[in-house]
Symmetry: C4
Subunit: 236 residues, 4 copies
């Protein structure tokens, strides 16, 4: 893939965030990785969405060192870098402060699996990562945010491609996917599933999670070799 | 009715879903039936709403076998087929994952009858169908979703034309009507009534259902030979 | 005032309802009265908002008998007529099924006075009228809806011009004002105050009503001979 | 700064309020101060947002006496004046009745610090000021509203530039900033943080506040000499 094309796609993925109602002001960022070229493209830090362009996206190497661009990269870049290093099939990462997902992040609770909307995209509860310790925050806040996410997936033995997102305690959601477009798609899903779960518990405080076999059916209807949802070759 | 006209109407009914805020991405579908011609027209599976056209609607026979169209029909087609077979006066069926209705579906609760907005269109509580068993899911998931809906109506002795919708446990709402347009209308009503009921219980957790005679009055004000709401010949 | 002008104003007041997000489909109606001419102008029943025009508003006498117009008047006309008869300073009446107000109506609770947004327009809690009895519903449903509203104001000794609205149990809100425009304004306020009160109780379930002297100050800052909010001659 | 420029900026800051969904009708106002010129510019009272212009903004001296303009200034002017006198680094003040913030104001509770969205802009819980006494209301309602806000900051030893807003019991939010634009920005943040906190407590009623070291990290990442968020010279 040409770098020019990746800049364009990362730009479009970033402006999709406010269009989906997931960010206010500059509170979100999307990146993508070209593993062959050894490059990451990410939104610049604190720049208004209507001033973004393919040209002012920031290009870094795989360690997050800027190789092209006059602007500072998103302050969350180090988190993105950690995720790309730990999750080798991830092609795009999104971070937002979307309201419903932040509700679960601040509450410090996994988003339970209550129904098929969830199962279509997340194979299991959406995990809540623990808060960072004072020491982690002092040392390298954004990098350690990535470390805590990765720790959560390792300790729970989760496949990041089957559970493409998380809420970080007292902070907010991170999602990812094979591409930046898919990562944005998963941000929309996470926000909607978070809202549905809030409503579900308000309506029935004693509700229990849905059965595992429903999870299996719905997830595998859309994913894997026996998927039959959509048209051939579609990712959703 | 000409097939061309039915394609147009099903197309328009489908694009009405995102306009009413009932679907994100491709998470909804509308079909219609022409019982004389022995044809069902339904949205293709997983195609973005802005790529839909009257021409790419999929046409099937009454058993759901595709007779016209290059695209796969909605994966929920088998549910629609079951409903058309069991409910002979239904002319259109809608399935969505609209947020408020999913809240009740995931909570596994009937939507109680709390007021006149409900009574104007649903003659009684909106039922929550049970979850499918593992065996039903393995056998024929989408068809069995229809079976469970029909079972709910038979066991409770409900008239599907007087209670034109249901929420399926852990899944979401299905609605229907004499036409695809009416089925969409009922989806909007179900979503709004679901929201009102959530608010009602938050404001008064001890609230009881409204009296049956209010249900009778409001429903019959709009439906049946003595209806006097609206203008002559109107369906709403 | 010329009838032509009144038709125009009632038309504009009706289309303001969906613009303010207070109605779906045809679920609302506004009327106005010209007491000198002995005429009421009201929305026709069940007609889509985008098909309304000044010309198809329905004109009736003070008892609700149609004197001009080919369409049926709103089925709620008899409620409007009762309110005009009982409340001599009312110039316009609005009925909607707006979601937040219906929440309180279905919950059967007065909307408590919690703050200044409320006090600026409603001098006291917004009352919830009782449900109609079976007998009242059988006899003359819409007229008796008016009777129950009036009964509530009489029993509680409320001034309808100081408390320009009510929620009717299991039904929804009615508001009024010196003009149809003011009645619409009060519908917007009632909906917003209903939402604020729902949030308030969720945040603090033990909250108590605000003090009476704050009510006095805020209401009288905007109303009466010593009002000083706004510009001279303004009603809001 | 030329007065003409300040009028333009105050005008734009005022019309930003409905664009951000923070006000209905005329329920909000923004002012700015030019301390060198000894002038305050504020919205006129009760004028519709679409009738506002740079020219009809009202100009007063530092005690709130009108020096330019035919319209009455916002009835909340005296509150703004008090805040400018007590908080010497404030350049703009905003008052609204935004729904979520009013929820906390009416509930009489501080908005707790639950996460990083909050910490990015408010260094500590957002305080709820006490209700005014009857005596204070009778004496000089709007001025005393300012007095109560200032009292809250003094008693709690808060820096108004680090905690740039408050909710006043039974009333609503006031925010401020170095400029009118920043004051509006803080109004949007306060409303969003208020909503997130409501969701957080609904999802986890036993939730505790986030740790102080997270507050320190996030606030200082954006503010002060070691800030590294955004581009050089940016205020956000």
């Amino acid at each position: 893939m040409l770098l020019k094309e990746l800049r364009q796609r990362v730009y479009e993925a970033n402006i999709a965030l406010p269009q989906h109602g997931l960010v206010k002001f500059t509170w979100g960022n999307v990146s993508a990785i070209d593993r062959e070229a050894g490059l990451i493209v990410i939104k610049p830090s604190g720049v208004d969405y209507d001033l973004l362009s393919p040209e002012n996206m920031v290009v870094t190497d795989l360690d997050g060192n800027v190789v092209e661009g006059d602007l500072n990269p998103s302050s969350d870049l180090a988190t993105h870098v950690e995720l790309y290093k730990a999750f080798p099939n991830v092609g795009g990462v999104v971070h937002t402060h979307s309201t419903e997902a932040v509700g679960w992040a601040q509450a410090g609770r996994d988003i339970p699996f209550y129904g098929t909307t969830h199962a279509d995209y997340f194979y299991g509860p959406i995990p809540a990562a623990r808060s960072l310790t004072e020491d982690e925050i002092d040392r390298a806040y954004e990098m350690e945010t990535g470390t805590v996410i990765i720790e959560t997936f390792r300790e729970r033995d989760l496949d990041p491609m089957a559970v493409p997102g998380i809420v970080v305690r007292n902070h907010g959601p991170f999602t990812w996917g094979k591409s930046p477009e898919e990562a944005v798609y998963h941000s929309v899903v996470l926000e909607e599933v978070a809202k549905m779960a809030r409503f579900t518990e308000a309506i029935n405080p004693q509700v229990e999670e849905a059965p595992q076999f429903l999870m299996d059916k719905h997830y595998l209807r859309k994913h894997g070799p026996n998927a039959y949802y959509g048209q051939k070759g579609q990712s959703h």
